[in-house]
Protein backbone atom coordinates (compact mmCIF):
# COMPACT_ATOMS: atom_id res chain seq x y z
CA UNK A 1 0.00 0.00 0.00
CA UNK A 2 2.26 2.80 -1.27
CA UNK A 3 -0.61 5.32 -1.62
CA UNK A 4 -0.70 6.31 2.04
CA UNK A 5 2.80 7.77 1.85
CA UNK A 6 2.37 9.80 -1.40
CA UNK A 7 2.06 13.29 0.17
CA UNK A 8 3.81 12.80 3.46
CA UNK A 9 7.13 14.42 2.49
CA UNK A 10 5.47 17.52 1.01
CA UNK A 11 3.13 17.84 3.99
CA UNK A 12 6.04 17.51 6.40
CA UNK A 13 8.05 20.21 4.63
CA UNK A 14 5.05 22.55 4.42
CA UNK A 15 4.02 22.32 8.06
CA UNK A 16 7.53 22.40 9.47
CA UNK A 17 8.50 25.46 7.44
CA UNK A 18 5.28 27.22 8.50
CA UNK A 19 5.94 26.52 12.15
CA UNK A 20 9.55 27.63 11.74
CA UNK A 21 8.50 30.93 10.17
CA UNK A 22 5.98 31.54 12.98
CA UNK A 23 8.76 31.13 15.49
CA UNK A 24 10.62 34.03 13.85
CA UNK A 25 7.68 36.52 14.09
CA UNK A 26 6.30 36.25 17.61
CA UNK A 27 6.30 40.02 18.15
CA UNK A 28 4.37 40.90 15.01
CA UNK A 29 1.83 38.14 15.76
CA UNK A 30 1.38 39.43 19.28
CA UNK A 31 0.99 43.00 18.04
CA UNK A 32 -1.58 41.89 15.49
CA UNK A 33 -3.50 40.01 18.21
CA UNK A 34 -3.53 43.05 20.50
CA UNK A 35 -4.61 45.34 17.70
CA UNK A 36 -7.47 43.00 16.78
CA UNK A 37 -8.52 42.62 20.39
CA UNK A 38 -8.57 46.38 20.98
CA UNK A 39 -10.66 46.80 17.86
CA UNK A 40 -13.17 44.11 18.84
CA UNK A 41 -13.26 44.66 22.61
CA UNK A 42 -13.33 48.32 23.62
CA UNK A 43 -11.02 49.14 26.50
CA UNK A 44 -12.16 50.51 29.84
CA UNK A 45 -12.71 54.25 29.97
CA UNK A 46 -11.89 55.74 33.34
CA UNK A 47 -11.97 59.22 34.74
CA UNK A 48 -11.41 61.09 37.99
CA UNK A 49 -14.57 62.08 39.89
CA UNK A 50 -14.93 64.49 42.80
CA UNK A 51 -18.10 63.43 44.57
CA UNK A 52 -19.63 64.93 47.69
CA UNK A 53 -21.38 62.32 49.84
CA UNK A 54 -22.83 63.15 53.25
CA UNK A 55 -20.99 66.48 53.13
CA UNK A 56 -17.62 64.81 52.63
CA UNK A 57 -15.71 65.20 49.37
CA UNK A 58 -14.19 62.09 47.81
CA UNK A 59 -11.95 61.96 44.73
CA UNK A 60 -12.23 58.62 43.00
CA UNK A 61 -10.81 57.08 39.84
CA UNK A 62 -13.73 55.24 38.28
CA UNK A 63 -14.87 53.57 35.07
CA UNK A 64 -17.39 55.71 33.16
CA UNK A 65 -19.87 52.82 33.49
CA UNK A 66 -19.92 53.06 37.29
CA UNK A 67 -23.34 53.81 38.72
CA UNK A 68 -23.67 55.96 41.81
CA UNK A 69 -24.81 52.81 43.65
CA UNK A 70 -21.63 50.90 42.80
CA UNK A 71 -19.49 53.95 43.54
CA UNK A 72 -21.01 54.20 47.02
CA UNK A 73 -20.74 50.51 47.79
CA UNK A 74 -17.55 49.43 46.02
CA UNK A 75 -15.38 52.57 45.95
CA UNK A 76 -16.47 54.44 49.08
CA UNK A 77 -17.45 51.42 51.21
CA UNK A 78 -20.76 53.08 52.06
CA UNK A 79 -22.69 49.82 51.98
CA UNK A 80 -25.81 51.10 53.72
CA UNK A 81 -27.37 51.79 50.32
CA UNK A 82 -28.57 48.43 49.01
CA UNK A 83 -28.57 46.84 45.57
CA UNK A 84 -31.89 45.10 45.01
CA UNK A 85 -32.87 44.73 41.35
CA UNK A 86 -30.25 47.12 39.87
CA UNK A 87 -32.86 48.06 37.22
CA UNK A 88 -34.90 50.81 38.88
CA UNK A 89 -37.79 48.61 39.91
CA UNK A 90 -37.43 48.08 43.67
CA UNK A 91 -36.22 51.33 45.28
CA UNK A 92 -33.67 49.64 47.60
CA UNK A 93 -30.94 51.94 46.25
CA UNK A 94 -32.83 55.20 46.96
CA UNK A 95 -30.57 58.12 47.98
CA UNK A 96 -31.02 61.88 47.92
CA UNK A 97 -29.29 64.11 45.37
CA UNK A 98 -29.54 67.80 46.25
CA UNK A 99 -32.31 66.86 48.67
CA UNK A 100 -34.44 64.91 46.18
CA UNK A 101 -34.93 61.15 46.26
CA UNK A 102 -33.51 59.32 43.25
CA UNK A 103 -32.45 55.80 42.29
CA UNK A 104 -28.68 55.42 42.56
CA UNK A 105 -28.67 52.27 40.37
CA UNK A 106 -29.85 54.31 37.35
CA UNK A 107 -27.62 57.31 38.09
CA UNK A 108 -24.19 57.35 36.46
CA UNK A 109 -21.51 58.42 38.94
CA UNK A 110 -20.07 60.65 36.22
CA UNK A 111 -23.21 62.82 36.44
CA UNK A 112 -22.96 63.42 40.19
CA UNK A 113 -19.94 65.80 40.61
CA UNK A 114 -21.13 69.22 41.71
CA UNK A 115 -24.15 67.78 43.52
CA UNK A 116 -24.66 66.74 47.14
CA UNK A 117 -25.46 63.07 47.76
CA UNK A 118 -27.09 61.97 51.02
CA UNK A 119 -27.18 58.28 51.91
CA UNK A 120 -28.61 56.41 54.92
CA UNK A 121 -25.20 56.85 56.63
CA UNK A 122 -25.67 60.63 56.48
CA UNK A 123 -29.09 60.77 58.16
CA UNK A 124 -28.18 60.30 61.82
CA UNK A 125 -26.56 63.00 63.93
CA UNK A 126 -23.68 61.07 65.43
CA UNK A 127 -25.19 58.54 67.84
CA UNK A 128 -28.63 60.17 67.57
CA UNK A 129 -30.85 58.48 65.02
CA UNK A 130 -32.87 60.51 62.55
CA UNK A 131 -36.54 60.69 63.71
CA UNK A 132 -37.52 58.48 60.76
CA UNK A 133 -34.97 55.82 61.72
CA UNK A 134 -36.28 55.87 65.29
CA UNK A 135 -39.89 55.67 64.05
CA UNK A 136 -39.10 52.63 61.86
CA UNK A 137 -37.77 50.85 64.96
CA UNK A 138 -40.75 51.84 67.13
CA UNK A 139 -43.37 50.97 64.47
CA UNK A 140 -41.83 47.67 63.30
CA UNK A 141 -41.22 49.18 59.87
CA UNK A 142 -39.07 46.23 58.74
CA UNK A 143 -38.44 42.53 59.11
CA UNK A 144 -35.36 41.40 57.15
CA UNK A 145 -34.20 45.01 56.80
CA UNK A 146 -32.79 44.81 53.27
CA UNK A 147 -35.18 47.36 51.74
CA UNK A 148 -35.07 49.54 54.88
CA UNK A 149 -32.33 52.05 53.94
CA UNK A 150 -34.18 52.77 50.70
CA UNK A 151 -37.54 52.88 52.50
CA UNK A 152 -36.19 55.36 55.07
CA UNK A 153 -34.60 57.63 52.45
CA UNK A 154 -37.86 57.60 50.53
CA UNK A 155 -39.93 58.13 53.69
CA UNK A 156 -37.86 61.18 54.70
CA UNK A 157 -38.47 62.66 51.23
CA UNK A 158 -42.17 61.73 51.38
CA UNK A 159 -42.57 63.81 54.56
CA UNK A 160 -40.51 66.70 53.14
CA UNK A 161 -42.67 66.71 50.00
CA UNK A 162 -45.79 66.83 52.16
CA UNK A 163 -47.43 63.68 50.78
CA UNK A 164 -48.69 62.46 54.15
CA UNK A 165 -52.29 63.64 54.25
CA UNK A 166 -53.78 60.14 54.19
CA UNK A 167 -52.76 56.49 54.25
CA UNK A 168 -53.70 56.29 50.54
CA UNK A 169 -51.45 59.24 49.73
CA UNK A 170 -48.54 57.81 51.72
CA UNK A 171 -48.92 54.44 49.98
CA UNK A 172 -49.06 56.11 46.54
CA UNK A 173 -45.93 58.17 47.20
CA UNK A 174 -44.06 55.20 48.72
CA UNK A 175 -44.95 52.85 45.83
CA UNK A 176 -41.44 53.04 44.39
CA UNK A 177 -40.08 51.07 47.35
CA UNK A 178 -40.92 47.38 47.47
CA UNK A 179 -40.78 45.27 50.65
CA UNK A 180 -40.87 41.50 50.17
CA UNK A 181 -41.49 40.90 53.88
CA UNK A 182 -44.62 43.04 53.68
CA UNK A 183 -43.78 45.53 56.43
CA UNK A 184 -45.87 48.16 54.65
CA UNK A 185 -48.27 48.84 57.55
CA UNK A 186 -45.39 49.55 59.92
CA UNK A 187 -43.74 51.78 57.33
CA UNK A 188 -46.94 53.82 56.87
CA UNK A 189 -47.28 54.13 60.68
CA UNK A 190 -43.68 55.34 60.97
CA UNK A 191 -44.25 57.99 58.30
CA UNK A 192 -47.48 59.15 59.97
CA UNK A 193 -45.65 59.38 63.29
CA UNK A 194 -42.86 61.56 61.89
CA UNK A 195 -45.27 63.68 59.85
CA UNK A 196 -47.32 64.50 62.93
Amino acid sequence: MKKAHTHSRRLFLQTSSMLASLAFIPRSVKAFYLETRNFLVASKKTGSLAVSVNKKLYTVEADTRTTLLDLLRENLQLTGTKKGCDHGQCGACTVHIDGKRVLSCLTLAAMVPGKEVTTIEGLSDGEHLHPMQQAFIECDGFQCGYCTPGQIMSAVACVQEGHTHSVTEIKEFMSGNLCRCGAYNGIVEAIQKVAS
Binding site: S43, G47, G88, K100, M111, S154, E172
Partner: protein, 325 residues
Amino acid sequence: MKPFNFIKAAGGTQTVKQKKRTGRFIAGGTNLVDLMKKHIEQPEELIDISGSVPASIGKKAAGIRIGAMARNSVVATNPDIIAAYPLLSKAILAGASPQIRNMASTGGNMLQRTRCPYFYDPTLPCNKRNPGTGCSALTGDNRMSAIVGWSENCVAVHPSDMCVALAALDANVIITGKDQLTKTIPFKNFHRLPGNTPEQDNNLPADALITAVEIPGNAFQKNCFYLKLRDRDSYAFALISVAAALHLNGTTIVSARLASGGVAHKPWRWYSVEQFLEGKQANAQVFQQAATLVQKEIKTLPHNVYKATMLQGAIEVALQNCLNA
Protein backbone atom coordinates in the same frame (compact mmCIF):
# COMPACT_ATOMS: atom_id res chain seq x y z
CA MET B 1 -22.40 47.75 29.81
CA LYS B 2 -20.08 48.30 26.89
CA PRO B 3 -17.35 50.85 27.71
CA PHE B 4 -18.11 54.38 26.54
CA ASN B 5 -16.69 57.89 26.60
CA PHE B 6 -18.48 60.38 28.80
CA ILE B 7 -18.52 64.08 27.97
CA LYS B 8 -20.50 67.13 29.06
CA ALA B 9 -22.60 68.89 26.44
CA ALA B 10 -21.16 72.18 25.19
CA GLY B 11 -24.55 73.86 25.46
CA GLY B 12 -26.74 75.76 23.03
CA THR B 13 -26.77 74.67 19.41
CA GLN B 14 -23.17 73.43 19.80
CA THR B 15 -24.52 70.37 21.60
CA VAL B 16 -25.97 68.82 18.44
CA LYS B 17 -22.65 69.33 16.64
CA GLN B 18 -20.90 67.25 19.31
CA LYS B 19 -22.98 64.16 18.70
CA LYS B 20 -21.66 61.35 16.57
CA ARG B 21 -23.94 58.71 15.09
CA THR B 22 -22.69 56.12 17.63
CA GLY B 23 -23.23 58.47 20.59
CA ARG B 24 -26.29 59.17 22.70
CA PHE B 25 -27.51 62.16 24.69
CA ILE B 26 -28.18 61.36 28.35
CA ALA B 27 -30.60 63.40 30.48
CA GLY B 28 -32.29 61.56 33.38
CA GLY B 29 -30.92 58.19 32.32
CA THR B 30 -33.82 56.21 33.82
CA ASN B 31 -34.41 54.28 30.59
CA LEU B 32 -31.06 54.60 28.80
CA VAL B 33 -28.87 53.34 31.67
CA ASP B 34 -31.17 50.34 32.13
CA LEU B 35 -31.06 49.53 28.39
CA MET B 36 -27.26 49.85 28.44
CA LYS B 37 -27.04 47.41 31.35
CA LYS B 38 -29.00 44.94 29.24
CA HIS B 39 -26.79 45.60 26.18
CA ILE B 40 -29.84 46.73 24.20
CA GLU B 41 -28.28 50.18 23.83
CA GLN B 42 -24.50 50.22 23.28
CA PRO B 43 -23.43 53.82 22.67
CA GLU B 44 -19.74 54.56 22.24
CA GLU B 45 -20.16 58.00 23.77
CA LEU B 46 -22.60 59.63 26.18
CA ILE B 47 -23.17 63.39 26.06
CA ASP B 48 -24.54 64.68 29.35
CA ILE B 49 -27.17 67.30 28.52
CA SER B 50 -28.57 67.56 32.07
CA GLY B 51 -26.75 70.81 32.78
CA SER B 52 -27.19 72.52 29.44
CA VAL B 53 -30.65 71.91 27.96
CA PRO B 54 -33.28 74.32 29.42
CA ALA B 55 -35.29 73.03 32.40
CA SER B 56 -37.46 76.10 32.85
CA ILE B 57 -41.24 76.26 32.53
CA GLY B 58 -42.59 79.55 31.26
CA LYS B 59 -45.90 80.99 30.13
CA LYS B 60 -46.05 82.18 26.56
CA ALA B 61 -48.62 84.37 24.81
CA ALA B 62 -50.38 81.33 23.36
CA GLY B 63 -49.66 78.67 25.95
CA ILE B 64 -46.77 77.31 27.94
CA ARG B 65 -43.23 76.20 27.15
CA ILE B 66 -41.63 73.36 29.08
CA GLY B 67 -37.86 72.99 28.79
CA ALA B 68 -36.87 69.47 27.71
CA MET B 69 -34.71 69.04 30.83
CA ALA B 70 -37.58 69.87 33.21
CA ARG B 71 -37.89 66.81 35.46
CA ASN B 72 -41.25 65.03 35.47
CA SER B 73 -41.90 65.81 39.16
CA VAL B 74 -41.16 69.49 38.59
CA VAL B 75 -43.61 69.66 35.69
CA ALA B 76 -46.33 67.81 37.61
CA THR B 77 -46.09 70.14 40.61
CA ASN B 78 -45.55 73.43 38.75
CA PRO B 79 -48.35 75.89 39.76
CA ASP B 80 -48.84 77.14 36.18
CA ILE B 81 -49.16 73.57 34.88
CA ILE B 82 -51.60 72.61 37.66
CA ALA B 83 -53.69 75.71 36.97
CA ALA B 84 -53.75 75.64 33.17
CA TYR B 85 -52.97 72.00 32.25
CA PRO B 86 -54.16 69.83 35.15
CA LEU B 87 -54.53 66.84 32.79
CA LEU B 88 -50.76 66.85 32.20
CA SER B 89 -50.04 66.95 35.94
CA LYS B 90 -52.45 64.07 36.62
CA ALA B 91 -50.96 61.93 33.83
CA ILE B 92 -47.37 62.45 34.99
CA LEU B 93 -48.27 61.59 38.59
CA ALA B 94 -49.88 58.34 37.36
CA GLY B 95 -46.55 57.21 35.91
CA ALA B 96 -43.48 55.57 37.48
CA SER B 97 -42.45 56.31 41.10
CA PRO B 98 -41.50 59.55 42.89
CA GLN B 99 -37.79 58.63 42.57
CA ILE B 100 -38.04 58.08 38.81
CA ARG B 101 -40.16 61.21 38.31
CA ASN B 102 -37.44 63.21 40.12
CA MET B 103 -34.89 61.93 37.58
CA ALA B 104 -36.78 61.61 34.29
CA SER B 105 -36.75 64.57 31.92
CA THR B 106 -39.58 65.80 29.69
CA GLY B 107 -37.60 65.11 26.51
CA GLY B 108 -36.42 61.72 27.72
CA ASN B 109 -39.93 60.67 28.68
CA MET B 110 -40.96 61.13 25.04
CA LEU B 111 -38.05 59.01 23.84
CA GLN B 112 -38.46 56.09 26.25
CA ARG B 113 -38.56 52.69 24.58
CA THR B 114 -41.34 50.14 24.82
CA ARG B 115 -41.65 47.84 27.83
CA CYS B 116 -42.62 44.84 25.69
CA PRO B 117 -40.94 41.88 27.49
CA TYR B 118 -39.58 40.50 24.20
CA PHE B 119 -37.78 43.79 23.51
CA TYR B 120 -35.98 43.34 26.83
CA ASP B 121 -35.03 39.67 26.25
CA PRO B 122 -31.99 39.51 23.95
CA THR B 123 -32.35 35.71 23.62
CA LEU B 124 -35.61 36.07 21.65
CA PRO B 125 -36.42 37.64 18.27
CA CYS B 126 -37.66 41.24 18.25
CA ASN B 127 -37.89 43.49 15.20
CA LYS B 128 -37.57 46.60 17.33
CA ARG B 129 -34.33 45.47 18.97
CA ASN B 130 -32.96 43.45 16.06
CA PRO B 131 -34.72 44.34 12.77
CA GLY B 132 -35.63 41.43 10.56
CA THR B 133 -35.70 38.77 13.28
CA GLY B 134 -39.49 38.74 13.70
CA CYS B 135 -42.00 39.74 16.37
CA SER B 136 -42.12 37.28 19.27
CA ALA B 137 -45.13 38.98 20.87
CA LEU B 138 -47.31 38.54 17.76
CA THR B 139 -47.53 34.80 18.36
CA GLY B 140 -46.32 34.78 21.97
CA ASP B 141 -47.63 36.40 25.15
CA ASN B 142 -49.38 39.51 23.88
CA ARG B 143 -51.55 40.29 26.89
CA MET B 144 -49.99 43.76 27.26
CA SER B 145 -49.65 44.41 23.51
CA ALA B 146 -51.36 46.81 21.12
CA ILE B 147 -54.98 46.69 19.97
CA VAL B 148 -54.80 49.43 17.36
CA GLY B 149 -52.30 50.54 14.71
CA TRP B 150 -50.03 47.49 15.05
CA SER B 151 -48.41 45.61 12.19
CA GLU B 152 -47.23 42.01 11.70
CA ASN B 153 -43.75 43.37 12.46
CA CYS B 154 -44.44 44.80 15.91
CA VAL B 155 -47.28 44.84 18.42
CA ALA B 156 -45.47 46.83 21.14
CA VAL B 157 -47.09 49.77 22.94
CA HIS B 158 -45.63 53.14 23.98
CA PRO B 159 -45.22 53.15 27.77
CA SER B 160 -45.53 56.86 28.64
CA ASP B 161 -48.41 58.46 30.57
CA MET B 162 -47.13 62.01 30.11
CA CYS B 163 -47.22 61.57 26.32
CA VAL B 164 -50.90 60.54 26.40
CA ALA B 165 -51.76 63.89 27.98
CA LEU B 166 -49.47 65.80 25.57
CA ALA B 167 -51.19 64.06 22.64
CA ALA B 168 -54.63 65.01 24.00
CA LEU B 169 -53.51 68.62 24.54
CA ASP B 170 -52.16 69.09 20.96
CA ALA B 171 -48.62 69.85 22.13
CA ASN B 172 -45.72 70.71 19.85
CA VAL B 173 -42.19 69.33 20.16
CA ILE B 174 -39.38 71.87 19.63
CA ILE B 175 -36.15 70.35 18.33
CA THR B 176 -32.71 71.45 17.23
CA GLY B 177 -31.50 69.54 14.20
CA LYS B 178 -27.97 68.51 13.28
CA ASP B 179 -27.98 71.63 11.07
CA GLN B 180 -28.45 73.65 14.30
CA LEU B 181 -31.84 74.91 13.09
CA THR B 182 -34.89 74.91 15.32
CA LYS B 183 -37.95 73.02 14.08
CA THR B 184 -41.38 72.22 15.44
CA ILE B 185 -43.00 68.78 15.21
CA PRO B 186 -46.72 68.53 16.10
CA PHE B 187 -47.03 65.95 18.88
CA LYS B 188 -49.43 63.77 16.86
CA ASN B 189 -46.67 63.34 14.24
CA PHE B 190 -43.85 62.83 16.73
CA HIS B 191 -44.32 59.14 17.50
CA ARG B 192 -44.76 56.56 14.73
CA LEU B 193 -46.74 53.45 14.06
CA PRO B 194 -44.55 50.35 13.62
CA GLY B 195 -45.29 49.57 9.93
CA ASN B 196 -42.23 47.95 8.38
CA THR B 197 -39.74 49.87 10.54
CA PRO B 198 -40.60 49.17 14.19
CA GLU B 199 -37.00 49.92 15.19
CA GLN B 200 -37.93 53.60 14.76
CA ASP B 201 -40.12 54.79 17.64
CA ASN B 202 -40.49 58.36 16.45
CA ASN B 203 -39.81 60.93 13.74
CA LEU B 204 -37.04 62.78 15.56
CA PRO B 205 -34.34 63.23 12.88
CA ALA B 206 -31.03 61.46 13.49
CA ASP B 207 -28.77 63.31 15.95
CA ALA B 208 -31.43 65.98 16.63
CA LEU B 209 -32.12 67.14 20.17
CA ILE B 210 -35.47 67.91 21.83
CA THR B 211 -35.18 71.30 23.53
CA ALA B 212 -38.76 72.02 24.65
CA VAL B 213 -42.43 71.16 24.47
CA GLU B 214 -45.09 73.79 23.92
CA ILE B 215 -48.75 73.37 24.76
CA PRO B 216 -51.32 75.82 23.39
CA GLY B 217 -53.89 77.38 25.69
CA ASN B 218 -57.19 75.52 26.12
CA ALA B 219 -60.43 75.45 28.08
CA PHE B 220 -60.00 71.98 29.62
CA GLN B 221 -59.02 73.06 33.15
CA LYS B 222 -62.29 72.31 34.85
CA ASN B 223 -63.34 69.02 33.29
CA CYS B 224 -60.47 66.62 32.75
CA PHE B 225 -59.44 63.22 34.05
CA TYR B 226 -56.64 60.70 33.64
CA LEU B 227 -57.64 57.09 34.23
CA LYS B 228 -54.96 54.41 34.36
CA LEU B 229 -55.81 50.72 34.63
CA ARG B 230 -52.95 48.40 35.54
CA ASP B 231 -52.01 45.15 37.27
CA ARG B 232 -51.41 46.88 40.61
CA ASP B 233 -52.60 50.15 42.12
CA SER B 234 -49.38 52.07 41.59
CA TYR B 235 -45.95 51.86 39.95
CA ALA B 236 -46.92 49.71 36.96
CA PHE B 237 -47.31 50.33 33.26
CA ALA B 238 -50.81 50.83 31.88
CA LEU B 239 -52.91 48.03 30.48
CA ILE B 240 -55.22 50.82 29.34
CA SER B 241 -55.08 54.51 30.13
CA VAL B 242 -57.46 57.28 29.09
CA ALA B 243 -56.81 61.03 29.09
CA ALA B 244 -60.16 62.78 28.78
CA ALA B 245 -60.91 66.50 28.66
CA LEU B 246 -64.17 68.34 28.03
CA HIS B 247 -64.89 71.99 27.37
CA LEU B 248 -68.48 72.49 28.51
CA ASN B 249 -70.96 75.29 28.00
CA GLY B 250 -73.54 74.47 30.65
CA THR B 251 -74.17 70.80 29.91
CA THR B 252 -73.30 71.03 26.21
CA ILE B 253 -69.93 69.72 25.05
CA VAL B 254 -68.18 72.48 23.10
CA SER B 255 -65.10 70.36 22.39
CA ALA B 256 -63.56 67.14 23.65
CA ARG B 257 -60.14 65.51 23.76
CA LEU B 258 -59.63 61.80 24.24
CA ALA B 259 -56.36 59.85 24.06
CA SER B 260 -55.17 56.45 25.28
CA GLY B 261 -52.00 54.75 26.41
CA GLY B 262 -51.36 51.01 26.43
CA VAL B 263 -53.22 50.55 23.16
CA ALA B 264 -50.76 51.46 20.38
CA HIS B 265 -47.15 52.04 19.33
CA LYS B 266 -47.86 55.75 19.94
CA PRO B 267 -50.18 57.71 22.24
CA TRP B 268 -53.50 57.22 20.48
CA ARG B 269 -56.10 59.91 19.86
CA TRP B 270 -59.73 58.81 19.47
CA TYR B 271 -60.72 61.48 16.94
CA SER B 272 -64.03 59.80 15.96
CA VAL B 273 -65.19 59.84 19.59
CA GLU B 274 -64.16 63.49 20.02
CA GLN B 275 -66.17 64.44 16.91
CA PHE B 276 -69.18 62.47 18.12
CA LEU B 277 -69.12 64.22 21.51
CA GLU B 278 -68.94 67.77 20.17
CA GLY B 279 -72.28 69.53 20.41
CA LYS B 280 -73.84 66.69 22.45
CA GLN B 281 -75.06 66.80 26.04
CA ALA B 282 -72.60 65.66 28.68
CA ASN B 283 -74.39 62.73 30.26
CA ALA B 284 -73.91 59.02 30.93
CA GLN B 285 -75.99 57.93 27.93
CA VAL B 286 -73.97 60.02 25.48
CA PHE B 287 -70.68 58.83 27.04
CA GLN B 288 -71.80 55.22 26.70
CA GLN B 289 -72.65 55.68 23.02
CA ALA B 290 -69.39 57.53 22.39
CA ALA B 291 -67.29 54.78 23.96
CA THR B 292 -68.71 52.10 21.64
CA LEU B 293 -67.23 53.95 18.64
CA VAL B 294 -63.70 52.78 19.47
CA GLN B 295 -64.68 49.19 18.65
CA LYS B 296 -64.60 50.00 14.91
CA GLU B 297 -60.92 50.99 15.15
CA ILE B 298 -59.46 48.22 17.27
CA LYS B 299 -58.16 44.78 16.39
CA THR B 300 -57.22 42.62 19.36
CA LEU B 301 -54.61 39.85 19.61
CA PRO B 302 -55.21 36.37 21.11
CA HIS B 303 -54.25 37.36 24.69
CA ASN B 304 -55.54 40.93 24.85
CA VAL B 305 -59.17 40.51 23.78
CA TYR B 306 -60.02 41.75 27.28
CA LYS B 307 -58.67 45.20 26.35
CA ALA B 308 -61.61 45.81 23.99
CA THR B 309 -64.20 45.84 26.76
CA MET B 310 -61.76 47.34 29.28
CA LEU B 311 -61.08 50.27 26.94
CA GLN B 312 -64.76 50.94 26.31
CA GLY B 313 -65.46 50.96 30.03
CA ALA B 314 -62.40 53.09 30.76
CA ILE B 315 -63.51 55.76 28.28
CA GLU B 316 -66.99 55.88 29.82
CA VAL B 317 -65.59 56.15 33.35
CA ALA B 318 -62.98 58.78 32.38
CA LEU B 319 -65.61 60.96 30.66
CA GLN B 320 -67.96 60.60 33.61
CA ASN B 321 -65.13 61.56 35.98
CA CYS B 322 -64.52 64.73 33.93
CA LEU B 323 -67.87 65.93 35.26
CA ASN B 324 -66.96 65.07 38.86
CA ALA B 325 -63.47 66.55 38.65
